[in-house]
Symmetry: C2
Subunit: 302 residues, 2 copies
């Protein structure tokens, strides 16, 4: 049984940035999250693809010890497709096209085994599906983390708020937090999250790092100063996947260990942005991550 | 003789933010920088005002031990006036009106005494005036810090680059650095600054903190998570003034002490944003600053 169950999208993306482009490349929130998670803990994916989804991608997951038994393959249908572009400001993606395809009728059904998992990551996907997955668990997992995006805040705000209420830790980026709580101030937004019973709020700020709020404490984590960003797609998902992977591995949710988890997650997310699609996550090792963690310690200390 | 000579603007500002407004309030780069500097070291201002400049402002400077002998008062003329507004995103000011008034013909002449200063802060002002002040110094000061803004990059790019070349440490915000070197990447922009012979580059990122690059090292300093920002006007100048003030006091430019200087500067800058105009700097004490510094240590450690 995988320690961490990850639900989210599996996609074939077309991405263009000022530094190149990728066509029909492996993407999706569950993809990045599970590959990142697999550096720390065994992951299992819950998702759906069409029969156009290349076998080699499934093989990649398996090679990382990721349980793919929860990936439904719908014959005669096409995999979710996202087309996006980043301008010089690599912080924001401009969506050019979204073909939901198999995602349109996706209705995740967790296996007996998956319903028993101790760690659950609700990757960026329709909040109703996130809630459905959560309700299928046999017992409350030790830790439930959810991620979301502006699209869901626009069209399903109430459901996003319900997710926030039901999970232990919610991840969102700064723009999303500002949008959801209608405030420019991130400290205020984080306090609103905590009022909704989410024990921990983590706000991701792209290249500027992230902040974590919990029980009156806050942690400000700088961003790793990357010189060669190629494609930030999936860095937020990689961040989330590493976070839950590290926490599953250490099983310690104290402030001190949570902070370490955030730094590890930032390191993995920064690696991800240095290549297109899963190019970097494919070959990334814990040795690489540990070495960047040490660098991180060096450049924030004073 | 003041330890730190600060050249910059003295202004009467109209500022509006979502949290209130101030009319004809004390502002200008030299104002914020000298008040912030005075927490750490004796400062002397080089600037110009009209005879509409309230005496109480000069008294405020004097009460902080600031040498005002370098402030020229032009009778029959009006003080520089800036009108700005901040929307919900408090990171960027929208300039509504700029009346240069006395600044139009400002031609700073340093006194014998000021020309001997060990520390020089070239606050945000026309880069030609910054260069003129630098050329008036009898000897090369121990440390020269310059600040700039997007306006000068737009209209006097070559002069800004000349300033960068001639000073030890250049301060700019992230948008300005991206604009000056035509790159979205701050690490690349910082490297360009260092190529121009500026020994240290500090890029301010507003609420996201700042980064410092020097001799192959970088330091990432998180922003202090403020819940009640009222008016960010002058926070960048307060940052610069505190920075040179702390460095003048400690006279130690090693990486370790530079990092401390940046954290002190961030603390003072964050206080400044909690009130309109100089409201906060007026009453701020070193005890307040030390206490925020300790908080800062707590929330970035991992």
């Amino acid at each position: 049984m995988p320690k961490v169950v990850i639900v989210g999208s599996l996609a074939l993306d077309d991405v263009k940035t000022p530094f190149g482009e990728a066509k029909s490349a492996l993407g999706g929130s569950a993809t990045f999250a599970s590959l990142a998670c697999s550096l720390f803990s065994e992951a299992g994916i819950v998702g759906v693809v069409g029969d156009d989804f290349p076998k080699e991608h499934l093989e990649l997951f398996k090679s990382k010890g990721i349980d793919t038994s929860g990936i439904e393959i719908k014959s005669g249908e096409k995999t979710f497709h996202w087309e996006g572009e980043y301008s010089h400001d690599l912080n924001t993606a401009i969506t050019k096209k979204t073909d939901l395809n198999v995602l349109e009728t996706f209705n995740p059904k967790l296996s007996e085994e998956f319903r028993d998992a101790d760690f659950l990551f609700l990757g960026n996907i329709d909040p109703e599906l996130q809630l459905s997955v959560l309700s299928q668990m046999k017992k409350r997992p030790g830790l439930v983390i959810a991620d979301t995006m502006n699209l869901w805040i626009d069209i399903k705000r109430e459901k996003v708020l319900e997710v926030v209420k039901k999970v232990d830790l919610i991840l969102m980026n700064d723009g999303e937090a500002r949008q959801l709580f209608n405030t420019s101030n991130l400290v205020k937004a984080a306090k609103e999250i905590l009022k909704l019973d989410s024990k921990i709020a983590i706000i991701k700020k792209g290249e500027h790092g992230c902040i974590m709020f919990s029980g009156g404490k806050h942690f400000a984590c700088a961003g790793y100063p990357l010189e060669n960003v190629k494609d930030p797609t999936g860095s937020g998902d990689s961040f989330g996947g590493s976070l839950i992977g590290y926490l599953a591995k250490t099983n310690d949710f104290n402030e001190e260990n949570m902070r370490k988890a955030l730094v590890y997650a930032s390191c993995v997310a920064s690696f991800n942005a240095e290549g297109f699609s899963v190019e970097k996550l494919k070959t990334l090792t814990m040795q690489d991550v540990e070495s960047r963690y040490k660098e991180f310690e060096e450049f924030v200390k004073f």
